[in-house]
Symmetry: C2
Subunit: 109 residues, 2 copies
């Protein structure tokens, strides 16, 4: 994960519809769900959903596969967890455990 990828990922997650789509797909699990079902869950027009799904896919946070007439989207878990690692890299000049949770507990307060 480099800076540019991180910027794209954070930009993708900073939009209400897209954040909800990611949450929905994270909860759905690795099997994912079709674009239409995502749109229905969001109550949004197909063009709106398509725009946001493409945005998320371009950012590498979700992936798609065709299955008959539907396109199935699913979360890319390593990309999500990679974000916090990018943020916390070299935390406290390496004086604390580089895992995010450990750092939050060790460095702060």
């Amino acid at each position: 994960m480099n800076e540019m990828q991180a910027l794209d990922a954070f930009a993708s997650l900073s939009q209400e519809t897209r954040l909800r789509i990611v949450r929905l797909l994270v909860i759905a699990g690795p099997d994912g769900m079709p674009a239409g079902a995502v749109g229905e869950a969001m109550g949004a027009s197909s063009s709106k959903i398509s725009f946001h799904l493409s945005h998320l896919e371009r950012a590498g946070l979700i992936q798609s596969r065709r299955e008959a007439r539907s396109i199935i989207y699913s979360a890319v878990y390593p990309a999500l967890s990679g974000l916090i690692e990018f943020l916390m890299k070299d935390c406290c000049q390496g004086q604390c455990n580089p895992s995010a949770k450990a750092c939050a507990e060790t460095c702060e307060m």
Copy 2:
């Protein structure tokens, strides 16, 4: 961490200067550094830096304290690690370990 806070946080991190400021402060550690030093490290004007520091502070990702003439900014580590927890909450309908890293390894691939 609720949805609105997460949206603010992600929006804050989706801007190049701000992402670099956060990385700088994460590396700097809990003692933080003065606004002027952050500006110098970024090579940015004082008003630009002030705008981005305020943005990050409003989002809860950094905090400030006055020390003599300087205002010292530092990372709020729990807010950063809270982001990934927000993303991963209820992952795979609770069928996997809810820690981000475990989920990435368990659910995916």
